[in-house]
């Protein structure tokens, strides 16, 4: 039933888009009937032969940015969360930094890291880092202290308490943060590429858009969308698994 409604909605949107697209200035909007051929040209590597290379570069940047964000976020989160003093001193600063729209940092990232992949990775890292760190902090607060006492009473040392109590108890929150972090790392990398770069999906989008090749532009956005939706679907699958496991 949901599938049918969803398909109906999709069809309606496409129909509306077609009608509106035909009526509008072709430089600003294109109907699906124009996007489809452009998409075919794109996928057959005729309009943008460097699509695979760009896609791969963007994926590599995302993987690196996200990997670093997870590693640093976990380390930072546990360091702040396990030590009450450190957490009380730095926790609020972290939350305040998170509230700043991260894109304001991008110009200085470009200055530091240049126009190539490094600045995109840095920006993706910056965006992904906060939700992971904050999820670890929230997760640690969620752990029922009684369960830690129980584990200690039954002979668990610090390592076992961490592995057998802390991690499972906070897993769901943690995975939620990891999922948000992934989404934001993806956004960071692509936004970074759009704002200034010569390669990657963002650069292609920028190119098509700059030359007012609107149909190509929409086709490129669609490909990028598949990438983003795909990564989020994967993350949501993992999250649902974890939910069934915890609580």
């Amino acid at each position: 039933m949901t599938v049918l409604v969803r398909l109906a909605l999709l069809a309606a949107v496409l129909a509306l888009w077609e009608v509106a697209g035909r009526a509008a200035n072709p430089l600003m909007a294109v109907p699906p009937s124009a996007v489809l051929p452009a998409l075919r040209e794109l996928l057959l590597l005729r309009s943008y032969p460097d699509l695979p290379a760009s896609l791969l570069l963007t994926l590599r940047e995302i993987a690196l940015a996200y990997g670093l964000a997870v590693a640093a976020g976990l380390a930072c989160g546990f360091a702040l969360g396990m030590n009450r003093l450190v957490g009380r001193v730095y926790g609020p600063m972290l939350a305040a930094l998170y509230a700043v729209p991260a894109v304001v940092w991008y110009p200085s990232l470009m200055l530091f890291f240049g126009l190539d992949a490094a600045s995109k990775i840095a920006f993706g890292f910056l965006l992904g880092f906060f939700p992971v760190t904050l999820a670890v902090l929230a997760g640690i607060r969620q752990v029922n202290p009684q369960l830690v006492t129980v584990a200690r009473a039954y002979g668990a040392g610090p390592v076992r308490v961490f592995a057998s109590v802390m991690v499972p108890a906070m897993l769901f929150t943690l995975i939620g943060g990891l999922r948000t972090g992934l989404a934001l790392s993806v956004i960071g990398v692509i936004v970074g590429e759009i704002l200034g770069s010569k390669r990657g999906m963002g650069a292609l989008i920028n190119h098509a858009y700059g030359l007012l090749r609107t149909a190509d532009y929409v086709a490129l956005v669609l490909v990028t969308l598949v990438l983003i939706v795909g990564s989020d679907a994967l993350a949501s699958l993992v999250e649902r698994r974890a939910k069934r496991w915890t609580d």
């Binding site: 584990a151 200690r152 009473a153 002979g155 496991w245 609580d247």
Partner: protein
């Protein structure tokens, strides 16, 4: 019972806690000896340090002065080979099934999966949890959860079982039934039980000895010996008399704990 060797010796222990409103003395020079196979109940007003005392026996709380000996050796930390604890609100791991919760202590001791599964499965029968092996704590009633927690303690098969108000959160009927069930387990396993409760009835029906504690700072006010056979009836003349005596002792302390007025 009195002739049995002293398994537990609490000698002049004192414990202070630092709170935001200054230091609070939870226990003051408490001494108590418990022999092997006893069912010794600690009873007293809220905040009298019963749980602190139990924590010391379990190695989770260190006394400021005095010492606690189990089997003649001073307690320096949790020792799950000699002492198992059942906590007030079960404290089950929500991500573990009944069976996995019961196995927890054995897992920490490095017992092989196959063997600990066997031990835990065998326990499910007497725990009344057969058919619930694969259920998660959220799928169990309060009484069942507490039985899983007791199962977790029984699985590591220690001489000593510490129980901190294990049935405190249960309704009275469940509580009475759980008491009967525990009595049966205790008589079969011949463990030494230290039991904390607020319930006079529970104390009178289960204990071989009852130690009444004073209002804070906690001290042992008096120790009652109960020689009656099991199962006991609250209506029996001996228990009625003991109940009156116990109540008068506890009443005084509870009043003191409340500052002299209700």
């Amino acid at each position: 019972m009195t002739a049995s060797p002293q398994l537990i010796a609490i000698e002049n222990v004192t414990k202070r806690y630092i709170t935001s409103s200054g230091p609070v003395e939870a226990l003051h020079e408490v001494s108590l000896a418990v022999g092997e196979g006893e069912f010794c109940t600690l009873i007293g007003p809220s905040g009298c340090g019963k749980s602190t005392l139990l924590g010391m026996l379990g190695g989770l709380v260190t006394p400021d002065s005095g010492r606690v000996l189990v089997d003649g050796r001073p307690v320096t930390g949790p020792d799950p080979r000699r002492v198992a604890t059942v906590f007030q609100d079960a404290g089950l791991f929500p991500w573990r099934t009944t069976l996995e919760n019961v196995e927890f202590g054995l897992e920490l001791q490095g017992v092989r999966a196959e063997r600990r599964r066997g031990v835990a499965t065998e326990l499910l029968g007497p725990l009344g949890l057969r058919g619930f092996a694969g259920k998660y704590p959220r799928e169990l009633s309060g009484g069942m959860k507490q039985r899983v927690a007791i199962g977790r303690a029984l699985a590591i098969d220690t001489k000593i079982l510490l129980m901190d108000e294990p049935f405190g959160a249960l309704d009275e009927q469940t509580r009475l039934l759980m008491g009967e069930w525990l009595l049966d387990i205790w008589r079969r396993t011949k463990k030494t039980v230290i039991f904390v409760t607020h319930s006079l009835q529970e104390a009178l029906l289960l204990s071989t000895r009852i130690a009444v504690m004073t209002a804070r700072p906690g001290r042992i006010k008096s120790v009652l010996e109960l020689g009656m056979d099991y199962p006991r009836l609250m209506e029996s003349p001996g228990l009625v008399a003991l109940r009156a005596k116990l109540w008068s002792e506890i009443r005084e302390e509870s009043l003191r704990a409340m500052g002299g007025h209700l």
